[in-house]
Symmetry: C2
Subunit: 231 residues, 2 copies
Amino acid sequence: MTGKDDQVADVSQLTIGVLGGTGPQGKGLATRWAQAGMKVVLGSRSSERAESAAAEIVDQLGTGNITGADNASCAGQADVVLIAVPYDGHGSLLESLREQLTGKIVIDCVNPLGFDKQGPYPLRVEAGSAAQEAENLLPDSRVTAAFHHVSAVHLADVSGSEVDTDVLVLGDDRDATDVVRELAGKVAGMRGIYAGRLRNAGQVEALTANLIAINRRYKAHAGVRVTDVEA
Amino acid sequence: MTGKDDQVADVSQLTIGVLGGTGPQGKGLATRWAQAGMKVVLGSRSSERAESAAAEIVDQLGTGNITGADNASCAGQADVVLIAVPYDGHGSLLESLREQLTGKIVIDCVNPLGFDKQGPYPLRVEAGSAAQEAENLLPDSRVTAAFHHVSAVHLADVSGSEVDTDVLVLGDDRDATDVVRELAGKVAGMRGIYAGRLRNAGQVEALTANLIAINRRYKAHAGVRVTDVEA
């Protein structure tokens, strides 16, 4: 999963926290990482709901090093923290967890989208993107952006085939993006591709609106592959 | 190249005009369409330069129904017009060709990007995207957006393999987007995918910055494939 000229980041010993771990995207990725043998902590506003979602995943997989906790405790326990909450509560949640997230790799996968009769469209975000907003709110964390386009339906289908998508990974901290690329590679079928600095995250987040339009038109759960790249 | 539930648009009798046809992107697509047996008119500010670029393409292919003209004459002769000019002159060019473009399918493939020491980044466009700007300036044309991500290097390599990319096609006029999807399918390897309304064009244009970042990192000429879609 690493390119010839890239160093391998060993991520197998890391604990991954998933804030918003009871939603479809967060829970799906948590399931896949647990399936890959990684240690995962699901976070939610309610520790009970997080614990029960973790127990469901263990049931589904028949195994899994995965527990549940409230968001603050989840962030405190984890080495790498995925932010998989709705855009609505994104800023206030991050602000409240600044201390727990200090020094850690934060992966923002939030898509600021609106919906009306004509379908999805990107919201204008003052900071440029949810990821840049996260960076502004968490100056002492290593903020990256990734996993925006992964289909929750494919993630949930653990008995099914591989997840047929690349994961565009953005960030200004090279080592952090390497870790996130490795985490993408832990899920069968997925491949992490470095796709630019954090200031180029806005269009990656917004592209989710196009994928939703594609899904509606073609009755699909579309993903994205980057061609001509060996990574 | 058409999905099971989509009607086939017959594009083989259409004349394609390419404004900015002497630049690498426009010339590359013109070459591929001529290679596919279509009638193409290259447009440029200077009809001489357009004619000489057309002659080069005929030389390269050994055949080709392709001529050159100044931009206004190119737009006037064509049924479908690709706008492949730099973003800088985009608005004023379209405004000057409003009459010639009336009633026609216009395909905007312009990427409003800036570059600095840290690489490429999307410019803020007041209308939301170059394509929406075109729609505002050409109220009597059928404006679509497509071909933003096609590598000029791969296009130019006509003896080489297929162009390994999907083409995201955006627009509010369903029939117009069907025609553009068919035009994408005329190039060996390429596939046109409907990817949303014109208001979702901004992030598709801006994604070119990510592809440039990918190209630099991986020494590639990256394209994009949409997975799980049969089109």
